[in-house]
């Protein structure tokens, strides 16, 4: 016998169909691509095309037959010149993949570690720290460039890129039109081809215009390409509320981006965080979301002067050592947590404050070790509580330190509403130090 023509599956879910009509009969010559039959499923009527050329030997299933199972031989095809063609390939081996149980993605496997001592420091604003980090990395690597709205001639909407155009010129400090979707996609394409773009979003609110390129193109391509096509890119800009700019300009995207495998997500608080982590983000071979905060830009912190200063992504910092409760915060909320800790200290409560720094990967080890010591945890974030970073941290603690907890985990978060404009209302929405103090006192 010759090649058997099998009943084809015409959709991912088809298991059987009706062979409604033959368009060829025994003895007919067919060429690849000729329509030989029509098949009806519950959804549609489809045509079956010949894949090989030859002569129809025998029709094995008469037209009008219902319920023909997929892969049933429906006709025989004699090969070229009546020769017997190769037999059908053997069916695929049965999938034997065991079910892998993995409750959560791998996290930074770093043990809670001491902060490296970088020696002398000087006071620096977060704004200067960010600019210095970009300048240092651009001097070091010609593939690094900055693009975004108003980054060049205007010197940055928030003056983060002050002076960079003068030093690096218009090929490396690039003003874009207001087209987040387009220029983000362009930067991602450039990164796939080996360049190392820094994309500045004037605020992260506008990154929603481009989020498809960030998630579907930048974050997933390495995996989809089996490791071939990386995307070394940094997306940075101010995130979260500023001051009285209304709901559309005041959203925290931490939990949005931290949700997605294939990204790293970083949220610095101090000038040292900003400088050390931005340098690490630019050198990282993966897409990194770098969440800054507009209110912090003008704040001054001590920052190491060492030319090589850099911080590892994925490691939290214990900003204040304590014994009675662990307060975990990131970005501007670290400052709120520190103020709360001072108030608590005056009342005889010793709070340990963890500056998360990195949201993905998250430093579970440092958080869990602290909770095992204090037996209580309060998380603080500016964003909405539902499906937020606090929910994630507290779940990690429940999973890994449940038996050490002496009280229910608490989360302090922004109110679950779009941010209002009115000064009095806005103030009521964003976590204040006394909110944190109250949350701590609820469990002590």
């Amino acid at each position: 016998m010759g090649v058997q023509i099998l009943m084809p599956a015409l959709s991912p879910t088809m298991t059987e169909g009706k062979l409604s009509r033959w368009l060829k009969k025994a003895g007919d010559d067919v060429r690849a691509g000729d329509v030989i039959a029509e098949i009806e499923t519950d959804k549609a009527t489809m045509e079956v095309e010949a894949v090989d050329e030859g002569r129809i030997g025998k029709l094995l299933v008469p037209e009008g037959t219902e319920g023909v199972a997929v892969n049933t031989p429906i006709a025989e095809l004699e090969g070229e010149g009546g020769k017997i063609a190769a037999p059908e390939p053997t069916p695929a081996p049965v999938a034997a993949a065991p079910v892998v149980h993995a409750a959560s993605a791998p996290v930074a496997a770093l043990a809670a570690a001491e902060e490296k001592d970088w020696g002398p420091t000087k006071p620096v604003t977060v704004r200067e720290a960010l600019r210095d980090a970009m300048a240092l990395e651009m001097r070091r690597d010609g593939d690094v460039f900055l693009l975004g709205e108003e980054v060049a001639q205007y010197q940055g909407a928030y003056k983060i890129s002050q002076g960079l155009l003068d030093e690096f010129g218009p090929r490396r400090i690039i003003d874009t039109p207001i087209t987040e979707h387009g220029f983000t996609g362009m930067a991602v394409g450039a990164a796939m081809n080996g360049l190392k773009p820094i994309v500045e979003f004037m605020t992260f609110n506008f990154s929603m215009q481009a989020i498809d390129q960030i998630i579907n193109s930048a974050a997933k391509t390495l995996y989809m390409s089996g490791g071939q096509m990386g995307c070394p890119i940094v997306f940075r800009g101010p995130n979260g509320a500023a001051s009285r700019v209304g709901a559309q300009h005041s959203q925290c995207y931490a939990s949005w981006y931290a949700h997605c495998p294939g990204l790293k997500v970083v949220a610095p608080w101090s000038a040292a965080d900003a400088k050390g982590l931005l340098r690490a983000a630019i050198r990282d071979p993966n897409p990194v979301i770098f969440l800054e905060n507009e209110i912090l830009y003008g704040q001054t912190f001590e920052c190491p002067v060492d030319e090589d200063f850099i911080l590892p992504i994925g490691r939290a910092k214990i900003e204040r050592v304590g014994t009675d409760v662990t307060i975990v915060a990131f970005s501007i909320m670290v400052g709120v947590a520190m103020k709360a800790a001072e108030t608590l200290a005056a009342q005889g409560i010793s709070a340990e404050v963890i500056n998360l720094r990195s949201l993905r990967p998250m430093d579970h080890a440092t958080i869990v070790a602290s909770v095992k010591k204090t037996n209580r945890i309060v998380t603080v974030e500016e964003g909405w509580p539902t499906a937020g970073i606090g929910a994630e941290i507290n779940m990690v603690v429940i999973e890994q330190a449940f038996d050490w907890l002496d009280a229910p985990p608490q989360r302090v978060a922004g109110l679950d509403i779009p941010l209002p404009y009115a000064a009095n209302l806005e103030k009521l929405c964003l976590p204040q130090p006394d909110w944190v103090v109250d949350a701590v006192k609820k469990i002590i």
Partner: protein
């Protein structure tokens, strides 16, 4: 009929340009035939349940990618949508690796983790394989950007369909590419239907080749069923891009014989329409006739047919014998480590 007239016109335009040599025609014939036979085999394996999910076949459109690829040089970048098997074969990626990716096996270009719509080859400068309609256009502008940044003379070819041509980011990319004079060739493969919606029902633009005109992007309409016309137009576009003139837009009028994907019954067009394209305008047949007129004999065609068949048979066998990816692959390639 309007389509046919346009086609005749552009044919006339192309005829004034260079004509392919017999060797080039043979090469083009072979490359187009490989794509067609590969896709037919993919359709067959899909029918047998060996390929899952979405599978978008390129049958009918072969002259577009083959004609353009013949005008490119080593190092030029190529990126396209999810109807991508033809582009991969045209850039020289191996049929084995493409077919094994379709069957989701270890031997696939993405080691089974990408599938039909997501394959890449650094070596061949093929940048995928993208499943979000229109996303590859911005990414393609980025490939061109990297050439501009590095001041090399490479060009990036960005393929997309008539459906994608209406996406906002496509126009954003036109603007960026024109503004920065990026060496980007935008190729609209107009196969008349974005899934089931005809071009006429999807766009108010009367001439997609002029969609970049507001930004000063030169546009040309080309008969995509004529290998020589496609190649001639691509030569002009590539030369302009390489010379630093900025982006170029080619609208290539083509036709897919199969449905949008395997599960598309194609009720939005008549069988006569499909049959007419196949019998009267098939690009492979047309090149074959030209070659016959040049005196190429049956034995030569038989040789090409046999070579192509052997490649496709080998690819199909490899795609079935290659093992499924090891479970240890599940957690790799999420991030670049270190």
């Amino acid at each position: 009929m309007a389509q046919a007239e346009t086609r005749k016109k552009s044919k006339g335009r192309a005829a004034s340009n260079q004509v392919l040599t017999q060797d080039q025609l043979l090469r083009g014939y072979r490359d187009m035939l490989l794509i067609r036979r590969f896709e037919e085999k993919a359709g067959q394996l899909y029918g047998m349940g060996l390929i899952g999910g979405f599978c978008h076949l390129y049958i009918g459109q072969e002259a577009v990618v083959v004609g353009i690829q013949m005008a490119l040089e080593q190092g030029d970048e190529v990126i396209t949508s999810y109807r991508d098997h033809g582009h991969m074969l045209a850039t020289g990626m191996e049929a084995r690796g493409v077919m094994a990716e379709l069957t989701g096996r270890e031997g696939g270009y993405s080691r089974g983790k990408g599938g039909s719509m997501h394959m890449f080859s650094r070596e061949k400068n093929f940048f995928g394989g993208h499943g979000i309609v229109g996303a590859q256009v911005s990414l393609g502008a980025g490939l061109a950007f990297s050439n501009w940044y590095r001041k090399n003379d490479r060009v990036a070819v960005t393929y997309f369909g008539d459906g994608a041509s209406n996406q906002g980011q496509v126009f954003e990319s036109f603007n960026l590419a024109a503004l920065m004079k990026l060496p980007c060739i935008f190729v609209i493969e107009n196969n008349r239907y974005g899934m089931g919606t005809s071009v006429e029902r999807a766009t108010a633009s009367h001439d997609l080749s002029q969609n970049g005109a507001p930004w000063g992007i030169k546009g040309v309409k080309v008969d995509g069923m004529d290998l020589e016309a496609v190649h001639a137009a691509a030569e002009v576009a590539v030369a302009a891009c390489r010379a630093g003139e900025g982006p170029y837009l080619m609208e290539v009028e083509t036709y897919r014989y199969r449905g949008h994907s395997m599960s598309d019954p194609a009720k939005y067009r008549t069988r006569d329409e499909v049959q007419k394209m196949r019998t009267e305008h098939d690009a492979i047949e047309s090149v074959r006739h030209k070659l016959e007129a040049l005196g190429v004999d049956a034995a030569a065609f038989k040789g090409i047919d046999d070579e192509v068949k052997a490649i496709v048979t080998d690819a199909a066998e490899f795609a079935q014998s290659s093992p499924e990816p090891n479970v240890s692959q599940l957690w790799t390639d999420v991030l670049v480590e270190g």
